[in-house]
């Protein structure tokens, strides 16, 4: 069991499978709005749905549209369970996460992008500011 320290951005404690995108991520453009599947991703995540997963990425890119996509996904029950980023959080996506009630953490160690594998069960506790990979 490995535990990482994270910064709480939007509150919540959740447990779910990880989906790790070891690069920047845009809700506007990288996700199919109907299926919540990753569409533009040159890695092995293409075709995987982010619904109910803990989405871990380096940083969020793209501007205001991303927040709208997150809210739209949440409205259809297709949002990720939580969002975790290496880089500091982006204002606009945080606004969307607050309204959608999607827990959000930032400032996780960059090594996590390599060490945590997609599909691993993860516990995110934002009262304590920790992310734990469960075996």
């Amino acid at each position: 069991m490995k535990t990482y320290k994270v910064k709480k951005i939007v509150r919540g404690n959740v447990q779910a499978e990880a989906i790790v995108c070891p690069h920047s991520f845009s809700f506007l453009g990288d996700i199919d709005l109907d299926t919540a599947e990753i569409i533009i991703d040159n890695s092995k995540n293409k075709g995987i749905s982010i619904t109910g997963k803990i989405l871990i990425f380096d940083e969020s890119k793209g501007s205001s549209g991303g927040s709208t996509v997150l809210i739209t996904l949440a409205g259809q029950g297709k949002a990720p369970k939580a969002i975790v980023s290496v880089k500091p959080a982006d204002f606009n996506l945080v606004e969307g996460a607050i309204v959608s009630k999607v827990p959000y953490a930032s400032d996780i160690d960059i090594a996590s992008l390599n060490d945590i594998k997609t599909g691993k069960l993860i516990n995110l506790n934002l009262d304590e500011g920790t992310l734990t990979v469960l075996d």
Binding site: I9, V10, T72, G75, A89, F91, E95, I98, V99
Partner: protein, 420 residues
């Protein structure tokens, strides 16, 4: 975060559930970015709740029924239809009807029906240094830079700032984040900078270099409201600039030193005519003399003087068959222009003065047509004078575009061909 007694009471539900929820969102937002406290805002420009986004209007109407009421003067941003005269843009009736539902919802919350991207043209100008919560990137950059009114690039939480009158003290509200980061020395003949499309091209060039940083631009003397509007709108589009300083022109940059808070960088970027020429050549894919079918002025929304100028130039002329010519403005300015006779002159030519919306926010978007199963308007080639518009038209409307000045736009509409 340190909250005042009043703020704590709002958060605890002593002012009702709507306020408590809104405060919870605003406090979470502030804590996420380590804001020490909240500030009182004096004005708000409210998110566009547009028919073209699925569920957006319905959600906004539901929200209005909860009984929330704005705390500060709050204007509203653009919609997808000319709500007063929907037929003017040939918007399908069902989409116009959906969009119209937002009007009583906004009224019930105390939001002023401006439906424009340029509320500053309507006199919503708080004092220098005031805190506000705004959406619409072209308005945000203008308030911050030209008026010295402080705001971040707001999103959905702007609604909750309007309801509470609060915003976290962070981002561009703080002095330290208003310091210039990149130094640009403009070496372009003054006569070249006499049209808003030239300013637009300059903004396009600089925005691409700086991204979300704070550019300081030195070396330009000529300016007016429409030039600064076009410049800011494009900086916020090609980059995601929230604040710029024009030395000797904007209020936080009386000198280069002031713009950089005393810390002037040694390195600078020189900008020449070649740089703006490049924007025209890269962003224009219609050849001179080629047939066009759409001409747009009014991105950002035009003011009364600009409508007057169009009326004078188009008087007794006719827009070519098969060409849509939209001049976009806000509803109050259209009323005033009606009174002054400009609207009749413009409409006699076949051009349309459209309010509350613009081409890229309307049913002209391909994605909107698909989503609502509407016929895709068959636009082939658009001429306009806005760098912001040309940035979006290709992707959203799927046509070719050309950037030129407003006089050439009018000539192009009359000839039905691109006049360079």
């Amino acid at each position: 975060m340190n909250l005042t007694k009043e703020e704590q009471a709002m958060l605890n539900g002593e002012h009702g559930k709507v306020i408590a929820e809104a405060m919870d969102y605003i406090v979470q937002f502030g804590e996420a970015f380590d804001a020490e406290r909240l500030v009182d805002i004096v004005y708000c420009h409210y998110p566009a709740e547009m028919g073209i986004y699925k569920g957006n209007v319905e959600e906004a109407v539901e929200y209005s029924k909860k009984g929330g009421h704005v705390k500060v003067p709050t204007t509203s941003s653009t919609l997808c239809a000319d709500v007063e005269k929907p037929g003017i843009t040939n918007i399908p009736a069902e989409l116009a009807e959906l969009q119209k539902q937002i009007v009583p919802a906004h009224r019930s919350m105390g939001i002023i029906e401006t439906y424009t991207c340029t509320p500053q043209l309507l006199g919503f100008i708080p004092p220098f240094g005031s805190y506000t919560a705004l959406i619409e990137s072209s308005a945000i950059i203008y308030y911050n830079s030209v008026l010295g009114v402080r705001t971040n690039r707001g999103g959905i939480l702007t609604r909750y700032s309007a309801i509470t009158g609060k915003y976290p003290l962070m981002g561009f509200l703080l002095d330290k984040n208003r310091k210039g980061t990149h130094y640009f020395k403009v070496n372009i003949p003054e006569k070249r900078m006499q049209t808003s499309d030239a300013w637009s091209a300059l903004g396009f060039h600089i925005g691409k270099i700086v991204g979300s940083a704070v550019p300081v631009i030195d070396g330009i003397k000529t300016h007016n409201q429409e030039f600064l509007l076009g410049f800011g709108a494009t900086l916020a589009t090609s980059g995601s600039v929230t604040l710029f300083h024009l030395v000797g022109i904007t209020p936080e940059a009386r000198t280069v030193e002031e713009a950089f808070h005393g810390d002037v960088p040694k390195d600078f970027f020189e900008v020449t005519e070649k740089d703006i020429d490049k924007v025209y050549s890269e962003q224009t894919n219609i050849a001179e003399g080629e047939k066009i079918d759409f001409v747009t002025l009014g991105c950002p929304h035009y003011n009364l003087a600009q409508l007057k100028d169009v009326a004078e130039k188009i008087k007794n002329k006719k827009v070519a068959d098969g060409v849509r010519f939209w001049i976009c403005t806000n509803r109050m300015t259209r009323k005033q222009a009606e009174y002054s006779g400009y609207i009749k002159t413009i409409e006699d030519s076949g051009a349309k003065v459209v309010v509350d919306t613009c081409p890229v926010e309307s049913h002209m978007r391909i994605s909107t047509c698909r989503e609502f199963k509407l016929e895709v308007p068959n636009v082939k080639a658009m001429v306009c004078n806005s760098g912001k518009m040309i940035r979006y038209v290709g992707d959203l409307i799927g046509c070719q575009v050309a950037l030129t000045n407003s006089d050439k736009c009018i000539e192009s509409a009359i000839k039905g061909k691109f006049v360079k």
